[in-house]
Amino acid sequence: MSKYETIIGLEVHVQLKTATKLFCGCSTKFGAEANTHTCPVCLGLPGALPVLNKKAVNLAILTGLALKFKINEFARFDRKNYFYPDLPKGYQISQKDKPFCEHGKLEITIDGVKKEIGITRAHLEEDAGKLLHSGSSGQIGDAEESLVDLNRTCVPLLEIVSEPDLRSPAEAFEYLGALKSILQYIGVSDCDMEKGSLRCDANISLRPFGQKEFNPKVEIKNVNSFKNVKDALEYETARQTQCLDSGEKTFQETRLFSAEKGTTTAMRAKEESNDYRYFPEPDLVVNHITKEMIEEIKKTLVELPAVRRSRFVTAYGLPEYDAGVLTASKAFADYFEVCAGLNKNYKAISNLIMGDLMGFLKAAGKDISDSPVKPENLVKLVKLIDTNIISSKIAKVVFEDMFKESADPEDVVKAKGLVQITDEGAVGKIIDKVLLENPAIVAEYKSGKDKVIGNLVGKVMKESAGKASPGLVNKILKEKLSN
């Protein structure tokens, strides 16, 4: 058991799902040719004036409602001043004292125990541009020159800052998953880390148990997946433990995570630049968020994952585990409910989705929205099993065809002759053959080793190419052996 308590806070940037940028009408579409989505405003040309995107504000407030934030009646933008080549204006328009949302919270479940994580604030700000560094490493330190693409400047970001309430890398991982799930449910962001629409910086420090004040925090940047956030935090926990154990002091710094090495290294940049001289943005006016506006936005709020999860347990009688897995992604939960509308064997549907469908989709690198198995066909498969036309073992074979050929399970069963053998006489014949071929196992069973019956069942199933009804095989086999 460690002597130290781990203190973690997360800063998550999500790109809001708008068609245009935060302060101008340029497109936010990902992957366009460099510098083709630019205009005087996002290039920072002199005299150009920003005008706030209403949709971005609405999405920020919608997020605020979903995460139980207090929505500030008056919200304002500020300039954050610093020089960097991806920031053409020399300042970023952000929010300091009056963000749209303050004091939110998010519930996570860790080892079966629920825990509430405070969220300090959520504020709107504009993104910066993208830099490409010359040289074979592509790293900034080795580059003689760099290229700048300003398509991304001014794209709307919501920065969601948690309280330092997380106590382990595992909790941080859970928090990120729960947050992403909610953001996707309410449709405010794609949360696609590969496209940069969700980014995460982590702050971490350790302190001896019982100590009230925090030690200086280390900020970890450059982390591009939730798994990497967890790995980076685990590495930092070990590194800082070693520091404290050897009597060294940790100090406030920014470190970069390397996914290949699994380590963090100190950034060389000077720390002096942390003086942003914020002041109110004079080119934008105050935002007065009225109760009526909030009520209007509230109407677009959908059922959130935690609520849906409980409903899956009560309405469909699913185990907590199934409900959690299915509702973690809105798309899977929607898929389940379409199926559940067609067939009432909810647990069987859940099993097929969680076992076969999720596995095949993952292996094929496909999204549920592109699933070759449509709910109608998945439900047909459930019916084929429930009516004893095929065994659940054969269902696995059928499912493979359903996935690979987008096939109708009824067609697969017909075409391949997979109908279950439920005729007692036919099953009995197969059993007789197996018993005749395996006198040793039969003798063992008769000497009292009941367990070997499993072996015989397996042989019968194999002999019938998986088509014999397992229930029937068990029944007849026992009858014949007791004679």
């Binding site: 068609a19 205009c39 830099l131």
Partner: protein
């Protein structure tokens, strides 16, 4: 009181390289600005709400509708250097 260290700090933030005589000049000028602010502080503002903007407007927003962007050649027209449709800039990290 503005010190030489203050001017050095501001110079770093502004990415400016100052000459020796600049430090003397700017220390004096910044000091004068602060004195002016001190003068303003004499005004009684007890009954005045903190003001971030004097523009008598609120909630000025636009709909999320696409507008024309620059042609890339125009966007890059005034760039000191360019390559592959990008702005090209010198070494960032010393």
């Amino acid at each position: 009181m503005i010190t030489r260290e203050d001017v050095e700090h501001v110079a770093v933030l502004s990415q400016m390289k100052l000459k020796e005589q600049d430090y003397i000049l700017f220390t004096k000028q910044l000091e004068e600005m602060l004195k002016f602010v001190e003068k303003l502080k004499e005004v009684n503002t007890d009954d005045i709400e903190p003001t971030a903007s004097v523009i008598p407007l609120k909630n000025v927003v636009r709909e999320d509708i696409m507008a024309a962007s620059f042609d890339r050649d125009i966007a890059l027209m005034n760039a000191p250097d360019k390559d592959f449709g990008h702005f090209k800039i010198p070494k960032i990290m010393e």
